[in-house]
């Protein structure tokens, strides 16, 4: 599988192939076999309701609020399995075949032989509505993300690269202000 040399990130405007996003219903049966399942369907009024509750004072939520403003729907199905072989290649092929329809292009395909990880990103261009699809697989995980609407890939990727990973403090800093406390009883050492 050819690996593309660069990933171009820019705001896409595209025509959606399906009003409802990809058809992922055939994956529902995998939930019974999965250790951990995530299933998100947000569109229409529910997406608007969710966006209303995003806080402008939280930096991540503010970013998401900005990203979501142009979206029509977001759909996620993610399964993590205890062992390999719980999902079939045909499960993934059924999704890829939907992404072969006119307007969709695969912009990235990454495959690692070492750990069997596979990732594909598709976008659809050429119209009023945008589309993004991500397929990630490894022997014990299957994740599909489908987003309809205008999406800024740069900002979306930035959201994923900055989840507030804390600094590694190897020892406590000595000048923490909340160490000063009112008179208290001696702790039991």
């Amino acid at each position: 599988m050819k690996i593309l040399c660069s990933l171009t990130l820019f705001t896409m405007m595209a025509a959606a192939a399906f009003g409802q996003g990809l058809d992922l219903k055939h994956l529902d049966r995998l939930a019974a076999k999965a250790n951990d399942t995530a299933d998100v369907t947000l569109d229409g009024s529910l997406l608007k309701l969710a966006a209303k509750f995003l806080s402008a004072s939280d930096p991540d939520e503010a970013k998401i609020k900005k990203l979501v403003s142009g979206l029509k729907g977001i759909y996620v199905k993610s399964f993590e399995f205890e062992k390999e072989g719980e999902y079939a290649e045909s499960d993934v092929a059924a999704i890829r075949s939907q992404l072969k329809s006119p307007g969709w292009s695969r912009i990235v395909g990454v495959h690692s032989k070492k750990d069997g990880e596979n990732a594909e990103i598709y976008i659809k261009t050429g119209g009023a509505d945008g589309g993004l699809a991500i397929i990630c697989t490894n022997p014990t995980e299957l994740t599909i993300v489908s987003i309809l609407g205008k999406i800024d890939l740069d900002e979306l990727s930035d959201l994923g690269g900055n989840l507030g990973v804390p600094k590694l403090d190897l020892e406590k800093s000595p000048d923490k202000s909340d160490k000063s406390q009112p008179p208290k009883k001696k702790e039991d050492e």
Partner: protein, 116 residues
């Protein structure tokens, strides 16, 4: 610090409550005592003391459930909105994390190819 402790710090990062949290705290501080309706004032004037309790109980048993239903309706909508928001944040983070991972892999590989 171990990976587990890093992951715990990430999993237990501070989260913000809903956007109007402060306003709701202040509203509870400011909440005035319930003003009696005009007919309640009249009823008090014309009824002997021991019947007041009966009247108040009857009024309360009508007014409180209605207020309660409205309150629960608002609470349900709020809960629904908060849940939808959580799902949205999760979905966007999932998408962002996968995209970022792919981007890092591709950029790493392109650097290797350039060196070759």
């Amino acid at each position: 610090m171990s990976y587990l402790e890093d992951d715990l710090k990430l999993a237990l990062q501070r989260a913000e409550p809903s956007g109007d949290f402060t306003e709701r705290v202040l509203a509870r501080l400011n909440a005035p005592p319930r003003k009696r309706a005009w007919w309640e004032e009249l009823a008090v004037l014309f009824q002997p003391p021991r019947v007041q309790w009966v009247a108040l109980t009857v009024v309360a048993s009508v007014v409180i459930p209605i207020a309660g239903i409205q309150y629960h309706k608002e609470q349900r909508l709020r809960a629904q909105g908060e849940m939808a928001k959580q799902e949205l944040v999760f979905a966007m983070r999932m998408a962002g994390s996968k995209l970022h991972k792919v981007q890092q892999k591709v950029l790493g590989m392109s650097q290797t190819e350039n060196r070759l």
